[in-house]
Structure formats: C-alpha cells, structure tokens
Amino acid sequence: MSWLLEKVNGGLVRVFLIVVALFWLVPTIGLLASSLRSPEDMSANGWWHVFSKPSQLTFDSYRKLLENGDITHSLWNTVLITVPATILVVVIGALAGYAFAWMEFPGRDWWFLIVVSLLVVPVQVALIPIAELFGKVGLFGTILGVILFHVGFGLPFAVFLLRNFFAEIPRELLEAARLDGAGELRLFTRVVMPLGGPAIASLGIFQFLWVWNDMLVALVFTKSGTQPITVALQTQVRQFGNNVDVLAPGAFISMVIPLAVFFAFQRQFVTGVMAGAVK
C-alpha cells in the first residue's frame, strides 16, 4: 500500500519537476529563438512563430555582432578580470570565514555582522568615491582596479556564506587534526577548504557569473584597451532601437563561457557534493 503511494508520489514529483523545468526554460528559449530571427521578423510577431516557420532561422544577428568591434580582445579582458576576481574572493573570503567561524578574538560576532550588513551597499553608491580614490593611486582605467572593485563587493557574501558553512564542520575533525600537530594554516588548507568544497564551489560559480556579467562597473572603470565583453556588446546597441537582435545574441555569446565553465567543473562540483556526503 505505502509502496503504491510512494510510486504515485514519485510519478507526481516527476510531472511537477517537468512542468517547472518548462516554466524555467520558456523565457530562455524565447531569447534563443529571438536571437535566431531577423529584427524584421521579430517586429512582426512573437518568437514562437519560428517553430511554424523554421525558414526564418538565421545566424545573421550573431554574424553581425561578431564582425563588429573587437569581441575577441574584449573577451580576453573579461577573462583577465573575472578569473582573478573570483579566485581572490574565494581565498580572501575563506580566510576570513574561517577566522569568523573558528577563531577567538574580541568582538568577533559584531565584526562579522558588520561585514554581512555591507551586502546592502548598492554599487552605484561607490562609483564616484572609488573613482576618485583610484584616480589618486593610479588604478583608474586599469584591469587591477576593476578586479579590486569586484573583490570588495564580492567579499561580504563570500564571508557570510563560508563562515556559516565552515561553522557546520564537526568540531571533532578539527580537534583531531589539531592533536596531530597541524598548525592554523595547515588546518585551513587540509581540513577546512576540502570540507567546505560544495560551498566554495557554489561561491566560486556565483562570483564568476556576477563579475562576468557586470557592465556598470566596467563601463566606469575601464578605458578603451581594457573593456570587457559586456561593454563591447553595449556599444553596439542602437539608440532608440528595440535592439533584440543585438541583446539576444549578445546574451548568448556571453552566456556560453560561464555555462561551459559550469559544465567543465560539474564533475568537481558533483564530487565536491559527494565528498561532503560521505563524511
């Protein structure tokens, strides 16, 4: 009886998940379909008409986008900005997260909460003061400046997330390692970092995506040689146009690499999750 119920439930769960997946896919499919139609067809009717008229499919929008401007150069800039910004946030955030979770110092909780509350600071607020600051120290217009900015604004979330995950690590594991004579740094690299795998992976992925997709910060803090792809794509947007033929393929071009990264690290992602499960 309960076996039967389980079976039905399982079926329902599957149906539910499929419906949800469709809900989640439709907007993206809409964007994809839009990116593969000409702007003329787009202005005539909705993207789903492409399914009844596959002859409308065209790569023209992609072609035009890629032959304009130096997309490859800006793509490289994006990588130069995104990779260090991600690594730095993870490393610095993990160090601080560990300290907040397992070290003893006065006012620990308050320090931690102040850091967390910084999550609320909107980037717009920081643009002008930081531009002044960078101007004074010669970082304005450099890739390093952009990276630092992203690291600063990525840290509150990183610290918040990692501290909470690290705090869940069973105390016995740390104490055992301690008894084996491990120092603080060793404890951090050999016990905490591996055990925090899933959280670190998630953090890395989110930070990567946020930096990758940023345009506002890049627009203000870069100059012609250091512009990332979002800015390069932005310069192709027509004033007053509806620009679906620029934005839709642009969105997909800039999505491809993050998704590829996700796929590439999926194994690590999954094994990280598994490793956590084994303990």
Partner: protein
C-alpha cells in the same frame, strides 16, 4: 531556543562562547586571516559609505551644508513612499518564494536520475546578465498577445471561452442615419414596411471582414416587410465613394445583428446576409433599428502585466526565476552535508517522507536556509536593474523601489545629496536583518 536565559545573557562573545577556538589561536593569527578582507572592505565598501554619509548632509551641488534637509526630503516624497511600500512587498515575497522553491527543488531532485539536468535548467538564469534577463521578461510580458508569451497563452485560453465580434471598430461615417447608443448604434428615424433602410457604417478594413462577406447590394422594397442593407460604406483608395449607397467594391456586413426597437423593447431581430441585406417582418413597422453592442465588442487583449497594478508582482516573478537557482544550488550544497544516516534512521523508524523532510531535513538545513534567506533579503533591498529595465516608463512610478529611486535621484535628477540620504537609509534598513542574525548567532553558540 528553549533556554530561559536566552534573553538575559547578551554578554560578550568571550563570556558566552562555547564554540571556542579549537586551537586557542593567538590574536595575531586571527588578525592575519582577517586582514586582507577587512582592508579591501574598508577601502572599497566602507569608505563610500562614509562618503555618502557626509554627502547626505550637503545640498544638491555639494556647496553648502544642508543639515537634515535631504532626510526630510526623502520622507515627504511620494515616490519614496511608494518605493518603501514596494520594498516591503519585495522583502516579504521575493526571498521567501525563492528560498522555498529552491528548497523544494533541491530536495526533490536529490533522488531523481535527471536531477542534475533539472538543476542546470533552473540554475541557467543565474548565468544571464540582468540586462538580458530584463529583455527576456519584457518579451514575456509584452502586452500584445501576438508578441508576449504570457498574454498569448492567456488570450488563447480566454478566447476558447468567449469569442470577439467581427466589427469592433465600425462606426457611423458622415451624415449617417445612425447615432451611437449604449455601445451600439440606433437609427434616428423610425422604419416602415415597404421601404428600404440603409445602415452604412465605416471603419472595418476589407481584410477584417468576415470571410463570407460579398459585395453589398441595395435592398429591394417588399410591401409587407422592412428591407435594408448594412455595409461598409468605404471604398478602398477613394473614401466613402457614394455616400449612403453601396458602391461596387463595398462589402456587406455579413452576420451583423439587427434589432427593431419600439418603446425600449425589441420587437423583431435578424441577421444580415453575406451581401449585407436583411429583412424584418411587419411587426417592426414604426420601430427604430438598432445594431446592438454585441456586434462591436473589442477583441480581448489580455492582461496588462506591466500596468500599474500588476507590475511589481510581475517583476518579482522574474526575480524568482533568476534567483531560485541561487537558493537551490546553495541548499543542495548544504544538503550534501546532511548525514545520510540520520535520514535513513528516521525512515527506518517509519517516518513518512514528509515527516523526514519536516523533522530532519529542514532543521538540519536551517543554517543554510538562513544564509540564503538573509542574502536574498538584503539583495532584494537593493534590487534595481530588473525594475529599471522591465517596468515601462508609464508604470515605473508604481514599480518604484528604493534603489531605483536612489539611481534616479543621483544619476538622472542631479540630487546626489538626496541619493546619499537614501543610501544611508538603506543601510539603516539592514539593522532588523542584522538583529535577527545576532540572535541566531547567539542561539547557535549556545547549542
């Protein structure tokens, strides 16, 4: 939680710290671990706050001290009041719905083979920039049912239940014998048997005519009856042609309903033939003819998703679409850390899946759920891009949120003083969230 002393011991961390450093770390080591983060945060995040705080006490061009004027301004501004109200709606709904969905997805996909594929689908929106997401949802919510998916589906469902009429925009032309009445049209004069009636209208394009419509024909008089024609009195390229009489290329209003009305009562009714002609019995003698409103019903146009009343829920919908994946990924990561044995033990004890979920999974996930909800709550406080991109100008005021108002004041209205005051105010709004966190931390430490 149950501890009776919970409220009584605010104490310093040192006094109440059972989760003591396992190592008895020296403070210098702790400082070294924290230093990089604190330096960067101080220079890049705290410094701008100080800058804003100072700026918020100066006037628009920064030349003079303004005291609390900017703060006064934000509390007397209608736009900011709407923004506050909307921010409350956002903070209540967006994080909870996203977290709840993330939790459900993470738990349900755990034991399904294609769970990873599903997770990828839900996660994908995170890889899309805010700008692209905004564009996507403007496509989804487009008011035109021919372009917006949401309305295409909605109107499709609606129209299977209620059809629209054939002549939505028909109206009397010049010197017409008809005048508008209750959404339809009524002749100014009474009709009589043996005479013909002309009921010309204009405003129906040839392509919109019913498929069966034929060239309109002038009706022949019939002694015991009332005859007439109703047609589109407009010749393409020429205008009305002969006014009040059918020209060769003018089409009859196939299927137009005609009622004879006497003293407010319908005494007879009929429908026009394909060539626009109609016949009414003698009972209609002396009545006036009415083309009732049912002929002219406008086609159903769907819902104004981005109109003033629905715009905030619609944008929250798009936010959930983006951020449920965030919640799901983090909760799944937390779920990976939940000891399987506990779940299995509960199942062996005969607990149903629901009980396992409620009594074991959720409590174990509490720290992660708290991280996710708090992050989303704070994130929602500064939500800006989606509202800015999705809300059309005409309802941007109705969709207003604090961060958008900050942007508008600071970047398009040249009021950096007020913008800074809003920024400071946003920071103050985090205090309740932080307070909640302090209590949680205390509780955790006592565990």
């Amino acid at each position: 939680m149950a501890s009776p002393t919970a409220a009584g011991v605010p104490g310093t961390p040192a006094a109440s710290a059972p989760r003591k450093s396992v190592t008895g770390t020296r403070r210098t080591v702790a400082a070294l671990f924290l230093l990089p983060a604190l330096v960067l945060l101080g220079a890049l995040v705290v410094y701008p706050i100080g800058y804003s705080l100072v700026r918020s006490f100066y006037n628009a061009d920064g030349s003079g001290f303004a005291g609390f004027d900017n703060y006064k301004a934000i509390f007397t501004d209608d736009g900011i009041r709407t923004a506050l109200k909307n921010n409350v709606i956002w903070v209540v709904f967006a994080p909870t719905v996203s977290t709840a969905l993330g939790l459900i997805f993470a738990v349900l996909t755990e034991r399904i083979r294609w769970g990873t594929a599903f997770k990828l689908v839900v996660f994908m929106p995170m890889a899309i920039s805010m700008l692209a997401a905004g564009i996507i949802f403007r496509l989804v919510y487009d008011q035109d049912p021919d372009k917006g998916v949401a309305n295409a589906v909605w109107v499709g469902v609606h129209d299977t239940f209620a059809r629209s009429s054939a002549f939505p925009n028909a109206h009397p032309g010049r010197e017409s014998p008809l005048k508008p009445e209750q959404g339809g049209f009524l002749t100014t004069a009474a009709v009589h048997t043996g005479r013909t009636v002309a009921l010309p209208l204009v405003g129906v394009a040839p392509d919109q005519m019913p498929d069966g419509a034929k060239s309109a024909v002038a009706a022949k008089p019939d002694p015991g009856k009332i005859t007439g024609t109703t047609w589109q009195d407009f010749t393409r390229g020429k205008g009305v042609g002969r006014l009040g009489a059918p020209d060769p290329s003018e089409l009859g209003y196939d299927g137009m309903r005609i009622e004879a009305v006497k003293d407010g009562k319908v005494v007879a009714s009929t429908k026009a033939a394909a060539d626009g002609t109609f016949t009414l019995p003698a009972t209609a003698d002396g009545a006036r003819l009415r083309l009732p409103a049912s002929n002219f019903k406008q086609p159903y146009n769907g819902v104004d998703w981005l109109g003033p009343s629905l715009v905030t829920p619609a944008i929250i919908g798009s936010y959930v679409w983006m951020w449920a994946g965030f919640a799901m990924v983090l909760i799944a990561a937390g779920l990976a850390g939940v000891p399987r044995e506990l779940l299995e033990a509960a199942r062996v004890d005969g607990a149903t899946e629901w009980q396992v979920f409620r009594k074991v999974t959720v409590p174990l996930l509490a720290p992660v759920l708290a991280v996710v909800t708090v992050t989303l709550m704070i994130n929602v406080l500064k939500v800006f891009d989606l509202v800015y991109i999705i809300a059309p100008g005409s309802s941007q005021d109705d969709a207003n949120v604090l961060a958008l108002e900050l942007y508008r004041k600071g970047f398009s209205e040249g009021q950096p003083g007020i913008a800074s005051a809003i920024a400071v105010f946003l920071l103050l709004l985090v205090i309740p969230v932080m307070w909640f966190n302090v209590r949680r931390l205390r509780r955790e430490e006592r565990r």
